[in-house]
């Protein structure tokens, strides 16, 4: 960050602290806007450029983007600002934070801003998979912006060494296990030198696990976000498959696999196939010293993956004029051309099908076809786990998953305990 950027940030901060009454007295409507950075790349610079581009076309509106840290830090700041009375007009927060934001009465739905047919067409233009985490109770609370899914990366060189077709990723759970067995190498004393597959389980194991549970045909939560189904037989079966990969078949590292070092394990050829976010695409492209492939996740009973990432939210405490201006900005930045540009620059999935029809996008994927995988997976993608008291309900599942993976509980017992805990937390919301 150079000094000019710093000064810009400082002014923006000062701007956001100014009383709405004073800001309203000036000619231009100002929209302060909190956003997190969750992947590599010059995100700050890109966002500033978008803000400047929008201001040029809309001189009466000033956009003040404020970098607020990780997703977790951003929501802490946004909610603290909300409680103190002067929140940012617009923020990018996790799509799964929707129920939390509704419960805190921090956000307004976008529906009242949808007036013309053109507006309706715009709202209907997003991938339905992304809208699942944006809508509840017949209202739209968030607009998809930086969204992702889980995909499978594989090392083509190691596939060739193991006698597998380097162009063919596993298509089913059975194939995934079979390939992983061929790809696991052991030395004379039985120590594994190369693992077949790795699915990270630190921090937010529920997200990757949701790939498995969806493939087993189970849905973890209802759309109202007040009921979970952790003890569903499909969920237990999915967890059993994951646990078996490590403990029975020994083709997956035992214990908890670190999310942050998983790409590094892949670069170091310590693992032949890994599950991680499509947001790591640019990272892998830059650091893998071997040809690699990206594929949709293998199917169990059916294919599937959760979506992930961040949505735009409108603050309830902002003035109607500010909300209107922010809405205009959201519409502007989600047009197909801008969505395509954003996807190519970051690795996120573009949020509308129309973005993939633009010239810029066609040129980008012609050069780098792996970027299309995440989009191709969207038709089978499901909403990311999101409920009231989201973090707490999710933690119940995370703890259960880790208990099973480290062998202290059976998958059945772990999921029963997680369900009982979630039940206790969610009861008051029904």
């Amino acid at each position: 960050m150079d000094r000019r950027e710093f000064m810009g940030g400082a002014t923006a901060l000062a701007g956001s602290l100014a009383l709405p009454g004073i800001a309203g007295a000036q000619a231009a409507t100002e929209i302060a806007f909190f956003y997190p950075v969750a992947v590599g790349g010059p995100i700050t610079k890109l966002i500033d450029a978008y803000a400047a581009g929008f201001e040029k076309e809309n001189p009466s509106i000033k956009v003040k983007p404020i970098y607020a840290g990780t997703y977790q830090e951003t929501i802490v700041k946004a909610l603290t600002a909300h409680k103190s009375g002067t929140p940012p007009v617009l923020s990018v927060l996790l799509s799964t934070d929707m129920f939390t934001l509704i419960d805190e009465e921090a956000v307004v739905p976008f529906d009242s801003f949808i007036k013309t047919d053109d507006d309706k067409k715009w709202l209907g233009s997003f991938f339905p998979g992304f809208m699942e985490n944006s809508q509840t109770g017949g209202k739209t609370w968030g607009i998809p912006f930086q969204r992702s899914t889980v995909v499978l990366y594989w090392n083509k060189e190691l596939f060739k060494e193991a006698g597998l077709d380097p162009e063919k990723p596993p298509k089913t759970w059975a194939e995934q296990l079979e390939f992983a067995q061929k790809l696991t190498k052991r030395d004379v004393s039985g120590n594994v030198t190369q693992w077949g597959i790795q699915i990270p389980s630190s921090g937010f194991p529920y997200w990757l696990f949701q790939g498995l549970s969806t493939q087993a045909g189970a849905i973890l939560t209802n759309p109202a976000g007040d009921k979970t189904d952790y003890a569903n037989p499909g969920v237990v079966e999915a967890l059993q498959y994951w646990v078996d990969l490590a403990q029975k078949h020994k083709v997956h590292p035992p214990g908890i696999v670190e999310w942050g070092t998983t790409p590094k394990d892949f670069f170091e050829r310590k693992v032949a196939m890994m599950w991680t976010t499509t947001g790591n695409l640019t990272n892998v492209r830059a650091n893998a010293k071997f040809p690699f492939g990206v594929a949709v996740l293998p199917a169990g009973k059916k294919p599937g993956s959760p979506t992930g990432g961040g949505n735009f939210y409108l603050s309830k405490k902002a003035t109607p004029a500010e909300q209107e201006a922010a809405f205009k900005f959201v519409r502007w930045i989600t047009t197909p051309e801008r969505a395509a540009q954003w996807s190519a620059e970051t690795g996120y999935v573009a949020v509308t099908p129309a973005a993939y029809e633009t010239e810029a996008m066609k040129k980008y994927v012609a050069d780098f076809p792996q970027a299309l995988v995440a989009r191709d997976q969207l038709p089978t993608a499901v909403a990311e786990l999101s409920t009231h008291e989201n973090q707490r309900v999710t933690k119940a599942l995370n703890d259960g998953l880790q208990a099973a993976l480290t062998g202290t509980k059976t998958p059945q017992k772990a999921m029963e305990d997680a369900q009982a805990e979630a039940e206790r937390i969610l009861k008051p919301y029904r």
Binding site: G203, T261, D399
Partner: protein, 292 residues
């Protein structure tokens, strides 16, 4: 009389900035937490109301709280004696005239000046299964591969080792300063008497270092309950709460779950615990820390 009044006013005015800071950032939050712990968490549609001891009842029934407490106890037991012993050893060693003394001192002190998050990231790679530093050493001697941070049996010990490594260098500085303040005549006298190196340490150096040991002990206890940064980077409390320490749990309840009332309750327990420890140390141990 007039002069005295002016002096009093001056005195208070000089105290005021420090006092204001103390009240605003230390005393008031503690009192507020205490009050809040008897109320429910305020929600948009439901303001906080008085709930008596409900939060404390919830706490007694909360398995994660008990897990965090026992983890914290093991963590304290693991870090405090080890880091103090190591600090003393290192200080005695670099106090002697050895070759490259300055370099050794600096090497020992380096962990203290590194930013915690960076340190945790470095250690994250040390603990990486298969090709991490620790694995390479273990592998060289023919040991089996271990997932240090990813197994319930080793995760807390792994975190403890990082804390010892970080703390020992810091405490060494206090011991080194104390050792250099000891009159050299004592060493000379011991040498004339023909006392061995061990006797000199056991009968002279160690007893004279007791006030420093007490100071270091207090710091070590506080640090054991203040530990949070490494947890964030290395395990986030996992696997299955195996490395959840009290302060990390308070953060999680307060800023991930937004259950501020329960977080306040947990904070009160932490405060009470630290107060108790301080009471024992100042009220009891200090009276016995005299040179005999």
């Amino acid at each position: 009389m007039n002069n005295r009044a002016t002096a009093t006013v001056h005195g208070w005015l000089l105290l005021l900035p420090a006092m204001a800071c103390l009240v605003i950032f230390t005393h008031w939050p503690a009192v507020a937490s205490f009050i809040e712990s008897f109320h429910s968490t305020p929600k948009a549609r439901r303001p906080a109301r008085f709930v008596g001891l409900d939060n404390y009842e919830q706490l007694l029934a909360d398995p994660i709280f008990w897990k965090a407490m026992s983890n914290n106890l093991w963590f304290a037991l693991g870090t405090i004696p080890a880091s103090i012993a190591l600090a003393l050893l290192m200080a005695v060693w670099v106090n002697d005239k050895i070759v490259g003394r300055t370099w050794v001192r600096m090497a020992f002190f380096t962990p203290t000046i590194l930013p915690m998050i960076a340190v945790a990231n470095i250690w994250l790679f040390f603990f990486t299964p298969q090709y991490g530093l620790l694995e390479q050493i273990v592998g060289f001697f023919g040991g089996r591969s271990t997932n240090w941070l990813g197994s319930q049996d080793t995760a807390l010990s792994a975190i403890t080792i990082v804390a010892i490594w970080k703390e020992a260098g810091f405490f060494m500085i206090f011991y080194l300063a104390a050792l250099q303040a000891l009159p050299p005549s004592l060493g000379e006298a011991a040498a004339i008497e023909g006392a061995s190196r061990w006797t000199y340490f056991r009968r002279i150096q160690f007893p004279l270092l007791m006030p420093t040991t007490l100071f270091v002990l207090i710091n070590a206890v506080i640090n054991a309950f203040r530990m949070i940064d490494h947890i964030f980077v290395m395990t986030r409390g996992g696997p299955d709460n195996a490395t959840t320490l009290l302060l990390f749990y308070i953060y999680q309840v307060g800023f991930s779950f937004w259950d501020t009332a329960y977080a306040a309750t947990l904070t009160c327990v932490l405060l009470a615990l630290l107060a108790l420890v301080a009471f024992v140390q100042y009220g009891f141990l200090e009276r016995r820390t005299h040179y005999r």
